[in-house]
Amino acid sequence: MIHSLFLINASGDIFLEKHWKSVVSRSVCDYFFEAQERASEAENVPPVIPTPHHYLLSVYRHKIFFVAVIQSEVPPLFVIEFLHRVVDTFQDYFGSTNVGDQLPTGQLSVVPWRRTGVKYTNNEAYFDVIEEIDAIIDKSGSTITAEIQGVIDACVKLTGMPDLTLSFMNPRLLDDVSFHPCVRFKRWESERILSFIPPDGNFRLLSYHVSAQNLVAIPVYIKHNISFRDSSSLGRFEITVGPKQTMGKTVEGVMVTSQMPKGVLNMTLTPSQGTHIFDPVTKLLSWDVGKINPQKLPSLKGSVSLQAGTSKPDENPTINLQFKIQQLAISGLKVNRLDMYGEKYKPFKGIKYMTKAGKFQVRT
């Protein structure tokens, strides 16, 4: 399994190391640096790198590479998944406002994921249903593919050993799910009810996937008119964002980004609302739109100046879209009820819905 672990920051310093078996010299990371150089971008560094005596398996998060050193055959996902959990744990531990003085205490509980003797004065359980739409929209505005990635994140602060059940109005929607280990699978299989003893605090109860085979509602559209001409060094740029199938909810937190082709020198644009930036170095255009008012659709118009003498770009840029819709789960998923057994007090329960754009791209 994992022999050693090295943490490497953005400037290429190994700032932390940990060895579980005998010590592996940090010079093994040189192979990693080589691969990093070849890959030009951090994103393209291969997650598995063979070296003469070891294998380096890495994950890249928060601008840090977590490089595990392996000596023999192991399922690579085992290591990768583990490293991601390590990062999650770091995030959990260091991310909270006050890093405790207490070192984490070992816990042995009959329920492995819940410590014993939990006590709260206010007993509460909150569930957030969050759905992300991944979509590719083509030039003409039709959907090429659209999928929903949903999760139910929970924050449960309940005294003792509560046993919860959560049921849905339309569990049929959840045909592709993965569970936190606390969920009793058999109960779900037979009754479509989530029955579980929750871990204490924040955790992801389940995530689900509504695949491209289903019809997914697309809550926004983009009207675009981007053209470069061969003859002139000026191009036209015009985009308008509007709501589509929002079930009457407001679309907010809209953010449009687009990677312009290399030939673009600068952009002179006027937004009808929000602020925009074009970075002439990275050629990244971003427009922070904010809320969409259906009466007055936000638009961004202007001209693009191209490098003189170069031919016009082959392809119009793709537009990436971010947005948020509160109080709506776009798949239509609805929680029916939450019940608690095993404890006598009356907890406070809450549920929130939200739809967001995941990888939402419009090809132009």
């Binding site: 310093d13 042995l108 039709s142």
Partner: protein, 1113 residues
């Protein structure tokens, strides 16, 4: 010690600030000045030593934190060993832990000093606290000092029979460490492994299997007796252990069971309970079909018990199950893993990378697995390049006749990508599609030729290379392309591309006799400035021309050979010498030069364009070796299936000695108590309470069913659910008192506020639920039934919660068992529709029965709904309904084979009324018998993936000699695949099928000539197919042409300004892609037939069908 918990980060030089920024929000250290002073000192660790000697625990703890910090940063802290080791016996558990961390790091370097600490551990091994016992064992086994091997061995043995499963788990971990320290201990360690394998705790299982894999993976005999137990424990083992166990069991199964793949055509028993059918039944079966493959129940057990783990949140577990199914399951079952693998594609980049690699290997051998998920592999511009190319790889593997046009369109987008490396890979992919799918070879070739005029050199170069390979596969009629490429030579500078063009011209120089010598002339001029690769090909071209056309090229070739003779590269000099000897006849050259032409212009085999993932599955999927495509150290080969299964009885567990639990599996008694409970230690009480409450409430039905399904082992869920019910009644009284508040809260649940109230037995919910279930259509029975059951249960809820709970549970289980018969109930659906965001299927059952052929009535509300959901945006082009419908009826069922029931169908050419992607089909059923035929309906639809069918409403009764026409809709997905189904009457079933002529997959479109030309202009290149046809003289009149074409295909006529050109437009029913047909009459009664469409496959089929239409008299 508030605040200075992480003060060590102040001390450690350069790396410290980064650490602080990236991960650790620094807390202000209490005495930074003091540390700062010391850190510059030469004896900088002096302060740490002092702190360690201090009498105060807080100082010691601070020191230890700093020291551990130093270790983490890779600094040497070994000189502190004596000072640290003294604290190993500290009473403070925090200090103790950190000292352990230190010891594990440095004990190997300072063995003598480390021995000082051993006695402390030995004492700790006897500590009453299981945590301390376990950690002592952990540290002891991590101290890599050979002298203490006997002590470790003893400690492991003792720990392996500890009462605490946690300590036993640590014993299993220690086994691996001791083995790596001293492999001599193997035999003794195997004994411990054997003992721990028998352990029934879920905590131990994963760890001991891990030890087994490290120490003695070949001793599968140790697994036999534990096999069933491991299978049954698996669901409850922690996730990391699951991965290890699944991989081990995969290997095990491949040595113990026979291949389930041999007779794939033999229908394998699917239903779970069949597997536990009685022995006699089994025997009977065996006798009936001698060679029928029957899966070993143990084999089935493994498959069944791993399947739920596909739902794990852990990607490694999902992948492990996926590879298990790949290597062990009957081929028909392996596809259940694809959905879960596709789900993982939304995970992190690294997970995606591994999953895509494995999916690529799978998709080569079994396309069908991923075909339904084709679109999930579409590439986004923000994907990293390595992910993009892997997705492309899978898309290419999945390409087939049905989806190729969609894919090629998608590829067109990729070719234009700003990521040029990816664009180049796409061109390769197009090349592979072209060779694999002959229908599109020409289309692809045309498309690639278009790319030759691309501005980007990489794209052009890659296109040239791929075209070269394609032309090699069918060089017959591609003189034009070669000429075109010859022209390109002036502009292309990429060596590979230049070399490819030269090779092509040389190879087919006889097809371009005028151009080839000229190319040689030009390249001879630039010879000295060319890349080596190009030079070799110039020589090659010269040689070939010399042999075929020596009159024109003799001098040129000799000039080139002379240049080559004095080239700097010896490769080129060598090649020059070789060629000269071969082609220029002289005394020395001898016999070989006679055959020079045969040698140079031999028929060369076309290169195979293959996936790099081909054959990669000789490595077990999901392994490191598979990812690297080379054998990693310690890779364990997956053996081939044995011809004859080894004795299965080795897995039988002796009833006397074994726990009674897993006899359930063997002896087919379904009601045995299962083995392990979920949380073994504590559940005893719960169980008792559950059993009492179960006798009261009728919740038994649920758990009983589960038992049947699962055979055994899963009472955990059953028992806990019953226990919930018992506690429910307790909590219910409370809930009633809190009713008022909960009612208010419940109301909010449906309003935007979304705060879910507790009890939820408030009347508001009832009403709403009722309202909803009324409003909603009864689309799928399971769902409706569940809502209605909720309704009914909430009606009776006022009494006790537990009652209603079990009630709904019951009705649910009833639902699932009834599933088979549901469609009949569905028919009686209320009319009102409620738009549901997902599942178009919801709409389908809303049939207003349509009996009159042309009545395309859509209820207005439904149209609006559909419009809201329809995603097509083209509004410019209107679909027209054909005025004169040429009626061509096809036979669906002959009256002889239908026992008097005859059926014909024709395509009504109306826009689909059941959904805008459906082709309308009118079926006329006639009763030719002399008796009433009752209940004519459709069953057993066998549709290719993606296709959907909307069946007609059952005909209750058909009188003798009566006939009735009904409508149905079929979504053919723009393909000419056959829709098979059964036409059923009350008593009989008849297999029938409908195969659409390609012309019926279209809907006519009206557009102006101008629009037509504009659209046509956008559909050139790959999207155009054409043919020259002979036109019979009587067919050249405009009206005749229109009549004939419109009869053959559902096309709309476009007005034309020219007499000799006739245009027709249509769009495909499923995807709405335009289909433009042009007939241009030429002299001598020929015509050019041109079809422009994105759907190239349909386009070429249509072309084929239209060709004879005008030539026949």
């Amino acid at each position: 010690m508030s605040g200075n918990g992480l003060s060590y980060s102040e001390q450690g030089g350069e790396a410290a600030p980064e650490l602080a920024q990236e991960v650790v929000p620094t807390t202000t250290p209490s005495a930074p000045a003091a540390f700062g002073l010391f850190s510059s000192d030469t004896k900088k660790n002096e302060d740490l030593k002092q702190m360690l000697e201090s009498s105060k625990d807080s100082a010691k703890l601070d020191a230890m934190k700093r020291i551990v910090g130093m270790i983490a940063k890779g600094k040497n802290a070994s000189e502190l060993f004596p000072a640290v080791v003294k604290n190993v016996a500290s009473k403070n558990i925090e200090i103790k832990k950190l000292v352990y961390v230190y010891l594990m790091r440095y004990a190997e370097e300072q063995q003598d000093l480390a021995l000082l600490s051993i006695s402390t551990f030995q004492r700790a091994l006897k500590d009453p606290n299981q945590l301390i016992r376990a950690s002592a064992l952990r540290v002891l086994s991590s101290i890599r000092v050979p002298i203490i091997v006997p002590i470790m061995m003893l400690a492991i043995k003792e720990a392996s029979s500890d009462l605490s499963p946690y300590v036993r788990k640590n014993a299993a971990h220690a086994i691996q460490k001791l083995y790596s320290l001293d492999p001599e201990q193997k035999e003794l360690l195997i004994e411990v492994i054997e003992k721990l394998l028998k352990d029934r705790s879920t905590l131990v299982a994963g760890s001991v299997v891990m030890a087994f894999e490290e120490v003695c993976p070949d001793r599968i005999d140790l697994i036999h007796k534990n096999y069933r137990k491991l299978c049954n424990l698996l669901v409850d083992v922690e996730e990391w252990g699951q991965v290890v166990i699944i991989h081990m069991l995969t290997r095990y199964a491949r040595t113990q069971f026979v291949s389930p793949w041999k007779d794939d055509e033999v229908v394998e028993e699917y239903s779970e309970n069949n597997f536990y059918e009685s022995d006699e039944e089994q025997k009977e079966k065996d006798q009936k079909v001698k060679n029928t493959y029957t899966m070993d129940p143990d084999h089935r057990l493994l498959l069944r018990n791993t399947k739920p783990l596909l739902q794990s949140r852990n990607a490694a577990v999902v992948m492990a199950v996926a590879q298990l199914y790949w290597h062990l399951a009957p081929k028909s079952e392996a596809s259940i893993v694809s959905k879960s693998l596709v789900r993982l594609l939304h995970s992190n980049r690294e997970v995606q990378y591994i999953v895509l690699q494995n999916s690529a290997t799978m998709s080569i051998q079994r396309k069908g697995m991923f075909e339904p998920y084709l679109k999930s592999f579409y590439v986004r511009s923000t994907d990293p390049t390595m992910i993009k190319t892997l997705k492309l790889e899978i898309l290419t593997n999945l390409a087939n006749e049905a989806n190729i046009s969609t894919l090629l369109r998608e590829f067109q987008t990729y070719v234009k990508s700003q990521d040029k490396q990816f664009a180049a890979a796409t061109i390769q992919a197009i090349g592979r599609c072209a060779t694999n799918i002959t229908e599109v070879t020409d289309t692809c070739l045309n498309g690639l030729v278009c790319l030759l005029s691309n501005r980007d050199e990489i794209v052009v170069a890659e296109s040239v290379v791929v075209i070269k390979k394609l032309l090699q596969t069918q060089p017959a009629h591609h003189g034009e392309i070669i000429k075109h490429m010859a022209k390109l030579l002036d502009n292309i500078t990429v060596p590979v591309a230049r070399a490819s063009i030269l090779w092509l011209i040389g190879e087919y120089c006889e097809r371009v006799p005028k151009i080839a010598p000229d190319v040689l002339r030009k390249t001879a001029k630039s010879f000295t400035n060319e890349d080596d690769l190009v030079k070799l090909q110039i020589l090659n071209l010269g040689a070939k021309l010399y042999l075929t056309n020596s009159k024109q090229t003799k001098l040129l070739t000799q000039y080139v050979l002379n240049l080559g003779k004095y080239d700097q590269s010896y490769d080129i000099r060598d090649r020059t010498r070789f060629i000269r000897q071969l082609i220029v006849p002289n005394e020395k050259s001898g016999a070989l030069s006679k055959y020079a032409k045969k040698i140079f212009l031999a028929q060369k085999p076309a290169p195979l364009l293959e996936s790099p993932f081909k054959d990669r599955d000789h490595f077990q999927l999901g392994t490191l070796s598979h990812t690297l495509n080379s054998r990693a150290t310690g890779y364990l080969e997956l053996s081939d299936w044995p011809e004859v299964a080894p004795d299965p009885s080795v897995r039988n567990v002796d009833v006397a000695e074994s726990a009674k639990e897993w006899t359930g599996i063997l002896s087919k008694t379904k009601k045995e108590k299962p083995i392990e409970k979920f949380y073994s230690e504590s559940e005893e009480e719960e169980d008792e309470s559950a059993s009492t409450s179960a006798s009261e409430s009728n919740s038994g039905s649920g758990s009983e069913k589960e038992d049947k399904e699962e055979g055994s082992s899963d009472e955990s869920s059953g028992s806990s659910s019953t226990s919930e019910e018992s506690s429910d009644s307790e909590s219910d009284s409370k809930e009633n008192t809190a009713k008022k508040t909960s009612r208010a809260a419940a109301e909010r649940q449906f309003s935007p506020g979304k705060f879910l109230g507790g009890g939820s037995d408030s009347e508001d919910i009832k009403k709403k639920a009722k309202g909803i279930s009324k409003k909603r259509s009864t689309s799928s029975s399971s769902d409706t039934e569940s809502t209605s059951s909720e309704e009914s249960s909430s009606d009776s809820m006022s009494e006790s919660g537990s009652k209603s709970d079990s009630g709904s549970g019951k009705s649910r289980s009833a639902t699932s068992s009834k599933k088979e018969e549901k469609p009949v109930q569905d028919r009686k659906a209320p009319n009102k529709q409620d738009v549901f965001l997902l599942d178009l299927d919801d709409f389908c059952p809303v049939t207003t029965p349509v009996a009159v052929p042309t009545a395309a009535v859509l209820s207005p509300s439904l149209t609006a709904d559909l419009e809201g959901l329809s995603l097509s945006s083209s509004s410019v082009i209107d679909v027209t309904t054909q005025v004169s419908v040429p009626r061509k009826t096809h036979e669906l069922l002959h009256r002889m084979s239908g026992k008097g029931l005859a059926a014909h169908y024709h395509f009504s050419r109306q826009p689909g009324i059941f959904g805008d992607r459906m082709v309308s089909v009118q079926v006329t059923v006639t009763n030719t018998s002399d008796q009433k035929i009752e209940n004519i309906h459709i069953e057993e639809k066998k549709l290719p993936p993606g296709m959907r069918m909307h069946e007609f409403n059952p005909i209750e009764c058909l009188e003798p000699a009566a006939s009735i026409t009904v409508s149905m809709g079929i979504d053919f997905c723009d393909s000419t695949q056959t829709a098979s189904f059964q036409l059923c009457t009350k008593d009989d079933h008849f297999n029938v099928n409908i195969k659409p002529p390609v012309g019926e997959l279209l809907l006519p479109v009206t557009m102006s000539e101008k629009d037509f030309k504009k659209e046509q202009g956008m559909l050139t290149g790959m999207n155009e197919t054409s043919a020259t046809i002979a036109v019979a003289p009587q067919n050249s009149a405009r009206l005749v042409i229109i009549e004939r074409l419109v009869k053959a295909a559902n096309l709309g006529v476009v007005p034309s300004g020219q007499d000799n050109i006739h245009r027709f437009a249509a769009k495909t029913v499923h995807s709405g892609s335009l289909m433009l047909v042009t007939v241009e009459l030429k002299e001598s009664s020929t015509a050019q037939l041109i079809i422009n469409t994105e759907k190239t496959v349909i386009g070429s089929v249509l072309l084929r069908e239209l060709k004879p239409v005008l030539s026949q008299g």
